[in-house]
């Protein structure tokens, strides 16, 4: 049984200039008719430089969620090509909206990362920065190390011409018991760039709380996570929008 918490918080630099949060996320369990539960987590970070980055992030999560749901209900096995199809669906939705609003696709620029976890298999994908940390319960690692360095202000977006080439996909038959997805704003706190590993002291306390929580009480934790992401101790380390999804099925 998956227990999930997720929260997005507007960055301090955005609060000052009154820009709403440009991050968006989705995390929920989708159950298919044959009774299998799939945890679907999506994080998208709208580019601060893009006029409609937040809308891009929103469209990305919304569209991908629908595509993934459709794919899960379809008996066809999910492979890399299917994942590419989800990305193409997101791009279609963004391009269509851009055409309709006389905007350029780059106005919707956003990064995109996600995970789909079944009892015995896992799919991860990512375009641009942010990261996914996955753990089997004993082994923990970063699925795709971020392309850019900790401070470099360059990243890839799902709206770019080369999006499909910049797309990382990993389909494994490994069972994943804990997963964290986060945007670039959290990345600096959650990863140890020197050792290229997850920064355990960041995750462990939160995961510990979650593991011991009853599923019904997880919703309240979303609020707490949001508070935490907005806390001064976080804000003095990053002024960017922050999104974090944490999930565990460890008892």
């Amino acid at each position: 049984m998956w227990k999930v918490i997720r929260a997005s918080a507007v960055g301090s630099s955005h609060t000052e200039s009154n820009i709403p949060c440009q991050d968006d996320c989705y995390a929920d369990v989708i159950s298919t008719a044959d009774g299998i539960d799939y945890l679907v987590c999506l994080v998208s970070d709208g580019a601060g430089s893009a006029k409609e980055g937040g809308r891009g992030a929103n469209l990305a999560c919304l569209t991908a969620k629908q595509s993934i749901e459709a794919a899960l209900l379809n008996p066809k096995p999910i492979d890399e090509t299917v994942v590419e199809g989800w990305i193409v669906d997101v791009r279609r939705a963004i391009f269509k909206s851009a055409d309709e609003n006389s905007l350029a696709a780059r106005d919707y620029a956003c990064t995109f990362l996600g995970a789909v976890l079944s009892p015995c298999a896992s799919i991860f994908f990512q375009i641009g920065d942010g990261a996914i940390v996955a753990s089997s319960g004993y082994v923990q690692g970063v699925v795709f190390w971020p392309d850019s360095g900790p401070y470099a202000n360059m990243t890839n977006f799902i709206t770019e011409e080369d999006a499909l080439l910049n797309l990382h996909v990993s389909v494994t038959s490994r069972r994943i018991n804990e997963v964290a997805l986060f945007s670039d704003g959290v990345q600096r706190l959650a990863l140890s760039f020197e050792q290229r590993i997850p920064h355990n002291p960041f995750f462990e306390p939160m995961l510990n709380v979650l593991r011991n929580q009853k599923s019904a009480e997880c919703e309240a934790l979303d609020q707490q996570l949001a508070h935490f992401l907005n806390s001064p101790q976080i804000n003095e380390r990053t002024d960017d929008d922050k999104t974090l999804i944490l999930a565990t099925r460890r008892a």
Binding site: E84, V88, R91, K96, A105, E161, D162, A163, L164
Partner: protein
């Protein structure tokens, strides 16, 4: 498979299925040999169509059978029963015409074919239609999938059962049409059921096909639209927006960037296109007929010229320069590849020998100095009036002196008056200012004249032109010697770009027309092709976005199709540089080399000519400079004598 029978009741067993189309499938008929195939309809054939097929078989003659896959015999479900299909000639070793006119296709399917071949094919396509028309038939649905071309440029028509046929006064209509090959006056028809097509309609389709063949696969109605909103191809046709026409600007159209235009054709042929694609053509019999095209293209065939630089280039001899060379230089598009030129460096050219010939041509040297020395110059004498005045002035001066002496000696009191009178006498002198200024002007003019004569002398009779040519030849020599180095560098680069070129070749195998891309139907594919986008390799975001009617949604579909393929591409570092890439590079350099060699080889001749010209100028200009020198010396002396 059920048994089929021909009209004589003979049983015709079918062989392997060779292909399937919308209407029916084509089967081999082994008992009748390799050249006969059977088309069998998927569905029951209407009574009208059955009558049409029977009449076509009856009306087929040798001409029709030669140019078209004409129905040769009907096939019936039972002896004398329902017609299910027909026998026809198999069109073997032919390719659909767009595999010839699309530049990317051509490089793969017809690599050795040049523009002369395209002109021939255009002519043969016209001749095929002329034959159909002379029988009273009309194709109705002319489109690139209907014409097949062989390696000898012979064109064959297929899908004859859809033609509009008239046999014994009975008309069987053509009920299909391809929108982007449909004439303006028939655009917007949702169905061609009951529509009688005319030869003039066919002549529109023919002109479209010929335009594609002669001008590198461009659709004449697909251009850059400067107006507001979308200009889809069908709308552009309906509104006669011929993008390459003389008045295209007034219709808000310009040809796509880097396209080859009718300017490379004889004016006569450009006029035929003009007539075919503009409003007057839509009038009764307004468009050029197949016969007119045959005539015009035959005339073009006899005026073709081979490019001096590149054997793969053939062009209309009325042009001052090879349009394919210009196009290659301007856009980097190689429309024709020369198989002969792939072995660079083989030529009879010998630089050392040639250079010796060049250096043995002696410079005419500096122009000899031509002065007035040795000339016997007599100044022009002063006019009598001035001489007299000057003599009188002498007397007056003596008188003035005398007056003062006399006055001082006799009446010193009146000295002051004497001084005034003497002064008047002394200074009244002789007035020669008019003569002086005339001589001064003459002198100035002569000086001016001499200096321009001298300048011309130095230029025409001096060695400047000779030395300039020599310098030019020297720099060509340096360029030629550097070419080998440059080629080596480019090959090095090729080695470095090996991944890119492998990727390019990989993507170039994916033709848009063979793939389903969401939102990109046949018409859009034609538009893309006319903007030079035939394969996945040609797709970039900016290239597609710049085409009218392609928004971000469609552009995204195309880009993602390409990038999806690109994801599948696996680089093989062991493969090395593709020989075809080396061939193109060699060709480019061979072309450059030939060009420089050609100019160098003309060097000795040109140098001798320049030398001869200079020496000739020396004798021809000598009188002129002599006269000028003499005139100057004379004017100088004339002025000097004024004192």
């Amino acid at each position: 498979m059920i048994d089929l029978f021909d009209s004589k009741g003979q049983r015709i067993p079918l062989g392997k299925k060779l292909g399937t189309g919308g209407e029916g499938s084509v089967y081999g008929v082994p008992v009748l040999g390799n050249n006969i195939v059977a088309k069998i309809y998927h569905e029951a054939v209407s009574a009208e169509k059955q009558a049409k097929l029977s009449d076509m078989v009856r009306g087929g003659d040798e001409t029709l059978k030669k140019i078209a896959a004409w129905p040769l015999e009907i096939l019936q479900a039972s002896v004398g029963g329902q017609i299910r299909g027909f026998l026809m000639q198999k069109v073997t070793d032919h390719e659909p015409i767009h595999h010839l006119y699309g530049p990317s296709h051509r490089k793969q399917r017809f690599p050795d074919k040049d523009w002369a071949f395209l002109v021939n094919t255009a002519r043969n396509a016209s001749a095929a239609l002329e034959a159909i028309h002379s029988h009273g038939h009309v194709i109705g649905d002319i489109n690139p999938n209907l014409l097949f071309v062989a390696g000898n440029s012979i064109v064959k028509l297929i899908d004859c059962d859809s033609f509009q046929i008239v046999v014994d006064g009975k008309h069987y209509l053509c009920e299909v049409g391809v929108p982007h090959f449909t004439p303006p006056e028939l655009q917007g028809y949702s169905s061609f059921r009951g529509v009688r097509r005319t030869k003039n309609h066919d002549n529109f389709g023919l002109a479209l096909i010929l335009f594609h063949i002669l001008l590198m696969g461009r659709h004449p109605f697909s251009g850059v639209f400067s107006g507001v909103g979308d200009m889809p191809l069908e709308k552009s046709i309906a509104q006669f927006r011929y993008a390459f026409g003389r008045n295209s600007a007034s219709k808000g159209m310009t040809p796509p960037p880097n396209s080859v235009t009718p300017a490379i054709l004889p004016g006569e042929i450009a006029n035929l296109f003009e007539r075919a694609f503009t409003e007057p053509g839509a009038q009764q019999e307004g468009r050029p007929t197949a016969r007119e095209w045959v005539k015009a293209l035959d005339s073009l065939k006899s005026q073709l010229r081979a490019c001096g630089q590149e054997t793969a280039h053939k062009y209309f001899g009325g042009l001052s320069a090879c349009p394919w060379c210009i196009q290659e230089q301007r856009s980097g598009n190689f429309f024709f590849i020369s198989l002969a030129a792939t072995t660079a460096g083989i030529s009879s050219f010998n630089l050392a020998q040639l250079w010796t010939r060049i250096t043995t041509i002696e410079s005419p040297g500096r122009a000899p100095e031509i002065g007035a020395s040795g000339l016997n110059i007599q100044p022009m004498p002063l006019p009598e009036s001035i001489k007299r005045a000057r003599a009188a002035a002498g007397v007056k001066k003596v008188a003035a002196a005398g007056l003062i002496i006399v006055c001082l000696a006799s009446v010193p009191k009146l000295f002051i008056f004497a001084l005034i009178i003497a002064g008047f006498l002394f200074f009244s002198g002789a007035d020669d200012s008019a003569e002086r200024s005339a001589r001064q002007n003459a002198f100035n003019a002569a000086r001016q004249n001499l200096s321009s004569a001298q300048a011309r002398w130095n230029l025409e009779a001096g060695e400047v032109k000779f030395q300039d040519k020599l310098k030019e030849l020297l720099s060509l020599r340096t360029e030629l010697e550097g070419l080998t180095n440059q080629l080596a560098q480019e090959r090095q680069k090729l080695q470095q770009n090996i991944r890119n070129s492998q990727l390019h070749r990989f993507l170039d195998k994916f033709f848009l027309e063979n793939h389903n891309i969401s939102g990109v139907g046949p018409t859009r594919k034609v538009t893309l092709a006319s903007f030079g986008i035939e394969t996945a390799a040609d797709i970039t975001w900016n290239k597609v976005m710049n085409i009218n009617g392609f928004g971000q949604k469609l552009t995204g579909e195309l880009v993602d199709w390409r990038k999806g393929l690109e994801r599948r591409f696996v680089f093989d570092p062991s493969k090395g540089v593709d020989p075809a890439d080396i061939a193109v590079l060699n060709q480019r350099f061979a072309q450059k080399q030939k060009q420089i060699e050609g100019r160098l080889m003309a060097g000795p001749e040109q140098l001798s000519q320049i030398r001869g010209q200079i020496l000739l100028q020396r004798t021809q200009l000598l009188p002129m400079i002599r006269v000028a020198s003499q005139q100057f010396a004379q004017a100088e002396a004339n002025l000097a004598v004024m004192g």
